[in-house]
Each structure stands twice: as structure tokens, then as C-alpha cells.
Amino acid sequence: MIGTKTRDTLAESIADEHALAPASSRPGVFRALLAHRTGVAGLVIVAGVALIAIAAPLIAPDDPTRVDALRRLAAPSADTLLGTDNLGRDILSRLIWGARLSLGTAALAAALILTVGVGLGMIAGFYGGLLDDVLMRIVDVILAFPALILALAIAGVLGPSITSVMIGIVAVAWADYARVMRGQVLSARERQYVEAARATGVRNTRILARHLLPNVLPPILVLASLEMGGLILTISGLSFLGLGAQPPTPEWGAMLNDGRSFIAAAPQLMIYPGLAISIVVVGFNLLGDGLRDAFDPHLRL
């Protein structure tokens, strides 16, 4: 995971570079990404797992929560390709459904974080004044904490459930985006296209939505893709601690937690879900790096 301050400077440098180029001459980001070897690898991994997640009901060989006392801790066979867990549930089916849950949760959390962070950041930057001061002081307080700790405390107090984890994470992670977004809006606010829109009598909300947002959003999306891996690690980490998805839900972090008492007898119970998380996070990290480089070749080091 990347610390707050690098993320900050990273987003700012992405943003600065981006701001220099008028929207019309922006080079094909997607084409640049396709020319980026590791970025493509990341894209393939992420798309592959997303496909598995979407097709889970079709491709999972078994019901992921079906308990079968007769085949507890069974070795891999033609029936159960990766064997079964301590309750006789098919590990492969649980992993496949776990992709759906883990990716789905992360995607929903990311959407909420972006909505809240981008929305509040834009409002703070555009309107300024007391609202801006109050919001930015709240951001300062949240950013003073290690993200995992605060999300853990919030989710913990709300009581163990995947919803609590989601609330905890969104309540913490929006702050970073709000701050970056506010900076973006502050610098964009004085640009000619905004002044022109204002001079011709366009309403504030329309300036925000139609003129500012499309121009400042792309670098934020790059930042979000860089953060996606960390988000998945946080969600599965909290589930691992028992604060998130509850048994028998096939969530990767929770599966790993279930498997911990069998580490000596059946290490595969924790090896597979951990491998699944690692692969997805590697995929997102490669994709995020690729997108960043595609946006800003100068940053490629």
C-alpha cells in the first residue's frame, strides 16, 4: 500500500500533467494502456476474475454453502477439484462465489467512496467558505489515523457484518479523495472554461456537473484504480478478523479465518483463499500502475 503523502503527490502530479493538456488533444489513454505490458497483464487478471464473479452461478460446480459430513477435508478429486473444507463444502465453489462477494463488495465500496469523496471535495473546493473549512478539518482528523485502525473501530462498534465493514471503510476512505478533489477544483475554478461558463450565466450546479467534473475526474479515477488493491486487502482483512462477512458466507478473508485452525492438518484451506486475494490485488496493482503511466508517460520510472 502506498502512504498518504505519496498518494497525494502522485495524484497531484497526475493532475498537473493532465491539466496542461486540453481535453481534445488528450492522447488515447486506452491505447496507451494497451501498449503497457504489465498494465495489460493487470487488465487481463482483473477482467478474468470479474468474469468469474459474474458467471459464478453458472460455473461453480456445487452450492458453496452445502455441508456434507461424509466428505470432510476430502482430497482433490474429479468431483471436488480443490478438495473440501472442514464442513465438507466444495472449496472451488466457495472460491468462485468468493470472487463475486470480494469483488462486488470492493466495487460497491469504491463507488461509494468516490461518490462521497468527489462530491464533498467538489462542494468544498467550489463554494469555499465555512463549509470548506469544516469539511477540511474533518478530513484532517480522519487522515490523522491509519485507515485500517479507524475503519476497524467503526465497523467493530457497529457490530460484525459486511455492511459494517463497508460503512467503516467508506467513512474513512472518502477523506483522501475529497482532499485531492478539492485541490483539483480549486485550480480548475480559475480556468478560462469555468469563467466563460460563469460569464454566460450557467448555473453553479451545471458548471460543477458539466464543466468541472469531466475535466477533473480522470486523475481521480487513476488514483482510485491504484487504491483498489488496498481496498480489497482492507475488506478481506476485516473479514478475516471476524468483523465482516459471517459464516457460512464464502468470502475470501472469512474463508482464511475458517481455515486457520486446520493449518497443520489441511493447509490448503488457507492457501487457496489467500492466493485468490493475492492474484486479484496483483491484478489491480498492475492495472493501476499501467493506467497511471498511460495517463502520464513522464511518471513512468
Partner: protein, 314 residues
């Protein structure tokens, strides 16, 4: 320089107050009645209305929120964070008793991480695209992508279960620290290697490096005396963040290895709905992180002459 430090200090006061409000408000989020939960945890399944009222008064929970906050904050400033619902021990003392173990683990992990990352990052930057560089980048990618809880179990599986080199969990002997420290160090090394490499690359292409080289300075002096010295600002910043995160309690790793630090303690308290401990922990951790950030800011005074001479705005 003194003005710079004074400004940083002045900035901390409102943020610390915000942290205390946040820490206190956390308990207000809790579903259900904490008084009943405490009674039920104490073995009284169906407490009478009188029992509930009595305990509510005893815990001071019959007062309105703002009054309780002012009392709590007043206590906090005098070093009293209340008592644990679960054990009755004073919260601050439980935290300060456990903090040295957390600090020990955090310092060892970060030092180990730096020991691996800084030389590796420098070599990686100097010999860009070489085998070493590619291996370092691959290692950093994997190290940053693997969940700490999985890494912890892989280390347990190989080093403790199969090779029987190290104990699985606990904290009674010095060698108990090896596995948790190693787990955390690998994660820290991954991000620090990446950072050192990119910070060094950035510096190595600067004009001052070309000047230093062209005036015939030895390569070693150029790299260590000039480029590294400037890259150090970024490295110190990220190291500070890493250290602060771990000092705030490596919750997952401490829990796995039964390491008796504040992270493991807060996870236990969360499952017992021990709100005074959770509130105290959040305030304590927030304060520790603020102090580390202050230390990092102060270190810029030595590292960056622009700060020392007051040329830089912030």
C-alpha cells in the same frame, strides 16, 4: 525554524480535539444499550429495570452526550480514560502497559524493512532494467499485494509447523517476535523498496547530479552524498507513515501471533463491546500518530534546508 515547528504544533491542537470528538462519538454509533450489554456480559441475562438504572447512573450514562464528552475529555487530559467494562481496569493503564510490546514490534519491523528496502531500492535505481531491478520490482509488487494475514500463515506453516524453527504464537521468549516482525517487515520493505527506487531515479536525473559527476566526484559520493540525501525526504516521510500505522497497533498480525500489544487488545475489546477501551484506543492511537507526524515534520528541518531557512511556504 522555530516558527515552523510552532506552526506545526498550533495545527495539532484542533486536529487533536477533532480526534477526541471522533473517539468519543464512536460509542454513540453502537447499536443496542451498552448498559444491558455490560449486565448480560456479567451473567445477568434478564436484568431488572432497577439494575439497569443503577448501573447507568454508575457509568454516568444517564447524562446527555455533550456533558459526558466534556467529562470524558477532562478526564483524558488528566490521564483518566475511564475503566474497561470487561475487566474494570483503567483504560489508559491497560494501553500504556501494552504499548511497549507494540512499539517493540513496530520498530523492529520497520528497521528490518528499511534494511532490506533502502539498499535494494538504490541498486534497483542504479541498474535500471537489470535482473536485480526486475527481481526487486517483482518482489515489491508481490510483497505489496499479498495480504498480511496470509503471509503470516505461510510463515507459520513453513517456519513453525514444518521446519519447527520458531514458535507459532505467544510472547514469552525473545524469539516469539521473529515471525510477526518478519511478516510486517516484508510488507514494509515492499512499499519502501518501490519508493526508494522511484525517489532515487528522480534524483539521479537532476542537474546537480550531472554537475557532481562532471566535476569528477566519485560515483559513491554522488549516489550516497547527493542523490540519496535528497531522496531521503521521501523515504523518511513514508517510513514515518509506516511506523505510525504499526504503532497504532498492527491489529491483524498482533491477533494472529497472540502478540500482547494494543492491536490485539482492541480487537478483543471490540468483540466484548468494551466501549471505553475502544474510545481510549482511538484517542491514544490518534495521539501517537500525530506525534510521529510531528517528528517527521521536525526531521525535515534537518533534511531540507528550504524548510530550515524558511524559504518554503509550508
Amino acid at each position: 525554524m522555530l516558527r515552523y515547528i510552532a506552526r506545526r504544533l498550533a495545527y495539532l491542537v484542533p486536529v487533536w480535539l477533532g480526534i477526541s470528538i471522533l473517539a468519543f462519538a464512536l460509542a454513540l454509533l453502537a447499536p443496542g444499550d451498552p448498559v444491558r450489554q455490560v449486565l448480560q456480559a456479567g451473567g445477568i441475562d434478564a436484568p431488572s429495570a432497577e439494575q439497569v438504572m443503577e448501573l447507568r447512573r454508575e457509568l454516568g450514562l444517564d447524562q446527555p452526550g455533550p456533558v459526558r464528552f466534556v467529562r470524558w475529555l477532562g478526564g483524558a487530559l488528566r490521564g483518566d480514560l475511564g475503566s474497561s467494562y470487561r475487566t474494570g481496569e483503567p483504560v489508559l493503564q491497560s494501553l500504556t502497559d501494552r504499548f511497549p510490546r507494540t512499539a517493540e514490534l513496530a520498530l523492529l519491523a520497520v528497521s528490518l524493512g528499511l534494511l532490506i528496502a533502502v539498499p535494494l531500492g538504490i541498486v534497483s535505481a542504479l541498474f535500471r532494467e537489470s535482473i536485480v531491478d526486475q527481481a526487486a520490482r517483482l518482489g515489491a509488487l508481490i510483497g505489496a499485494s499479498v495480504p498480511s494475514f496470509w503471509l503470516a500463515y505461510l510463515l507459520i506453516l513453513f517456519l513453525a509447523v514444518q521446519l519447527r524453527l520458531l514458535p507459532v504464537a505467544g510472547a514469552s521468549e525473545p524469539r516469539h517476535i521473529v515471525l510477526p516482525a518478519l511478516t510486517l517487515a516484508i510488507g514494509a520493505a515492499a512499499s519502501l523498496t518501490r519508493l526508494t527506487r522511484s525517489a532515487m531515479l528522480e534524483e539521479l536525473f537532476q542537474d546537480y547530479v550531472r554537475t557532481a559527476r562532471s566535476k569528477g566526484l566519485r560515483e559513491r559520493a554522488v549516489v550516497v552524498g547527493h542523490a540519496l540525501r535528497n531522496a531521503l525526504i521521501a523515504i523518511v516521510t513514508i517510513t514515518g507513515i509506516r511506523l505510525a500505522t504499526l504503532l497504532g497497533g498492527a491489529v491483524i498480525v498482533e491477533t494472529i501471533f497472540a502478540w500482547p500489544g494494543i492491536g490485539q487488545y482492541v480487537v478483543l475489546s471490540i468483540f466484548h463491546r468494551d466501549y471505553p477501551v475502544i474510545q481510549g484506543f482511538v484517542l491514544f492511537t490518534g495521539t501517537v500518530v500525530l506525534l510521529i507526524n510531528l517528528a517527521v515534520d521536525v526531521s525535515y528541518v534537518w533534511l531540507d534546508p528550504r524548510v530550515r531557512l524558511g524559504a518554503k511556504g509550508r
